[in-house]
């Protein structure tokens, strides 16, 4: 056993080393950096205590970004899950056509968010895009969706759902196809229709997977960045600027590259994600216990 122990440590050393250097050290330094006035060039920075956090409280862009991040999440996550559940329901027959469709629905997820966002920004363009043209043909005038306050966030959400629902759908499908057919037969004997069978057999049976999807999409949504960077760059008038976008902006894009401050916003985001995930898990597990 003694020899075995040494070997075990040898086995975990490479991974552990990487995780220590690139996760733990950065995590702890994040807390420290957020207490300094460091900039990207790292010259003459010093300890300033909780000054960055105090500044954050007065920074309206932080609150605006928090609001936008939450609005995005509250819209995107339920839409993505709901759309996947709807399509799952329609494809429970598992015919050949359905199998083909699952591949089709997964295609956007294989593409990068950058590529998908570029594609949609052109299709939705007011002056040369297909959508504006087709809508104009049936007499509907649309504003410039990505450059108009009030429409931009909705468009970003729609593009995100379009790209991501295939992922959720695939997970849910795998779980749903594993549901024992005897359950469905029993429900059929009881005279349950299609919808009733889906609501009372399928959904309870795949509850764990739905919960998994909910938590993972929530965490991803709170870190939204790629699509906004390409589609709107946070505009118009900061109406789509999210927390990660703001962190990136303050730390890497806009002088004076205020890394200390950007990191304090990142630490704040970390707690926000942790708290929201915790609440979601708490809420969903409690409901489970009640049932």
């Amino acid at each position: 056993m003694k020899r075995n122990q040494k070997l075990a440590y040898l086995f975990i050393t490479p991974s552990l080393l990487i995780l220590i250097v690139f996760v733990f050290v950065p995590l702890f330094s994040a807390f420290f950096i957020s207490l300094t006035n460091m900039d990207i060039y790292m010259n003459e920075y010093h300890w300033i205590g909780f000054e960055n956090y105090k500044r954050m409280l007065e920074d309206s862009r932080v609150w605006n970004a928090t609001k936008n991040t939450i609005v995005y999440t509250v819209a995107e996550v339920p839409l993505q899950i709901f759309l996947s559940l709807l399509l799952l329901f329609l494809m429970l027959g598992n015919t050949r056509f359905h199998k083909l469709l699952r591949t089709v629905f997964y295609l956007p997820y294989v593409c990068s968010m950058t590529a998908i966002s570029i594609m949609w920004s052109m299709i939705l363009n007011k002056n040369s895009g297909m959508v504006a043209y087709l809508l104009a043909k049936i007499g509907i005038q649309i504003p410039n969706l990505l450059a108009t306050e009030g429409y931009a966030m909705g468009t970003v959400v729609a593009v995100s759902v379009w790209k991501n629902f295939g992922y959720t759908l695939t997970l849910l499908t795998a779980a749903a196809l594993g549901v024992s057919s005897s359950l469905y037969e029993a429900a059929e004997i009881d005279g349950a229709g299609w919808a009733a069978r889906f609501l009372h057999v399928t959904i309870p049976a795949i509850r764990q997977t739905i919960l998994f999807c909910l938590v993972t999409t929530l965490i991803t949504a709170l870190q939204v960045f790629d699509q906004i960077y390409v589609l709107t760059q946070g505009g118009p008038l900061f109406s789509t600027e999210t927390l990660v976008g703001y962190i990136f902006e303050r730390g890497f894009r806009a002088a004076p590259f205020d890394v200390g401050y950007a990191t304090s916003v990142a630490v704040y985001l970390f707690f926000l994600i942790a708290v929201l995930t915790f609440i979601l898990r708490r809420y969903t597990t409690r409901r489970e216990e009640e049932e």
Binding site: L19, P26, S128, F225
Partner: protein, 273 residues
Amino acid sequence: MSKKAFAIVSNLILILFMLLILLPLCWLFVSAFKSDLAVNAWPPRFFPDKWVNTQFTYVWRILPIPVMLKNTVCFVLAVTGISLFFDSLSAYAFARMDFKGKKLLFGIILLTMMIPFQVVMIPIYLEEYKLGILNTFWGLVLPRAASAYGIFMLTSFFSGIPRSLDEAARIDGMSEFGIYFKIILPLSKPAFVTLGIFHLMNNWNDLLYPMMLTSTQEKRTLSAGLATLVGSNAIKYGPTLAATVISISPLLIVFLCGQRFFMEGISTSGMKE
């Protein structure tokens, strides 16, 4: 609703959704072959009047596409390969060996899964700056050379393999490394494929990570290089379309060829939790 009516209605809705997915993607691919004039024309046409490849040649000239493609492929393959190896070694230790602090270490590794990248992003940048590996190949690969997610997933998979198999080998005098290599690895092919695909897709499509750690076009990956094209003020639609097609095509081709693996991979990764 009768069975037949349900099938008709549901198929109609499904076809609608299929078009909603396929039409934009088709538009993207055919539009990359339009001339500058045709891309910006009003009324827009779905198909090009004349198929041209000027956009591709233009992109080829202004962006170092072959270099970026090479960067992406090397980066993705190195990350996937190294991390599969490191993750599986650790997973083997956690699933099959006893050592002091095992529970604690495993707990700590699980915890790292919950840390969003954005929190460690700036410190990693500064760390790489101090180590002098910023804007290098290894600077991109090392932070991703092990993943908590991978260790977690493989540990749960290895634990599911009957212990009787390796007990027998151990009695025959096989070393731990031998058992890992000759017994556990071959039995875990599905898990490896799943995780490999996961790493492959994530890293190929990642934007913020490579964008932050690289600063010159020659070191950029496709996804990050493409974003600089959008970020620059003089955005030209035609070339951007071509560049987009170039960046997503390799992975799409791999997906369509191995779609059975992809789909199975994704579904097993979800069931594990």
